[in-house]
Symmetry: C2
DNA sequence: TTTGTTGTTGATTTTAATTTTCGATAACTT
DNA sequence: AAGTTATCGAAAATTAAAATCAACAACAAA
């Protein structure tokens, strides 16, 4: 039995072809952040006959199940990323759209302190740095 | 001449009734973050006959002009906030939706360091902490 | 202050992302 | 294998936001 099957069962989702395929796409993609459209295109390419509505449905189910997390980058629409236990933040290139990830202990600690100061019990946080990456800086020279 | 008029001229926007009214609404609102719909509702209440399309247009113009900044809180759609020269980040209550602001020097510094490490030239950043505020924590007890 | 030019407006249409609906179908149970 | 129930795909519906366009208002010049 494939590992995808187990993962789906583990979170209480029935094992269906669309769900398995979408999970595989997320796992095998080299870009970590995929929009619903991206996933749909990947399905088309793989000659899998899965409707766009199903993609949206399944991604939302995956989110509720804690398999993926949904991000709203600047500009609005959702991108999805496989959940992993290693938390990280994002740095995005305004020019080419590249997204890199980082983890910074100092920042994490500081966030905790701030939350305490305000009396909040933190459930989540997001941090995005926007800028021009080295490659794009070189280009415009 | 009203201060709104001056502000508009200062950023090179022609002084018109919709723009003045919308600016006033942003300035006088007790919630700092307003969606286009929020602004529109406020206009209706003030019996100002301004179309929704104009609200979107004006808010976008205000953004380009640097009068307001646009945020994409979790859940998608845009909210606008009057620009002020004091930069700050946000802490949002998942339960009641309250938004508070903070500025933390350590975090700002650290972001700069991270950007350097990745070779990015930072243009902007956003940071959101999500959690349950003190009041809401008390309620569920 | 009238007039002319140009930018702005409101109503409506359009777009794009996402969600819902619903009959057909596939997954798990017995 | 058969029944129950969730899931699916296609298409329609919804939503936020942007674009269109003729009527109109702001500012400048006469």
């Amino acid at each position: 039995m494939s590992s995808e099957n187990q993962e789906l069962r583990a979170v209480g989702l029935k094992v269906t072809l669309p769900r398995v395929k979408i999970l595989q796409i997320l796992e095998n993609s080299d870009t970590k952040h995929l929009s619903a459209e991206d996933v749909y295109k990947a399905l088309i390419e793989a000659e899998e006959d899965v409707g766009l509505a199903t993609v949206y449905r399944v991604l939302t189910q995956f989110e509720s199940a804690g398999l993926v997390s949904r991000h709203h980058f600047e500009g609005g629409h959702s991108v999805f990323e496989l959940m992993s236990d290693d938390h990280h933040d994002h740095i995005v290139c305004d020019s080419c759209g590249k997204v890199e990830e980082f983890f910074d202990h100092t920042i994490e600690q500081q966030q905790e302190r701030i939350a305490q100061k305000f009396g909040y019990k933190i459930t989540d946080h997001s941090m995005y740095l926007y800028g021009i990456c080295a490659a794009c800086q070189a280009e415009t020279k």
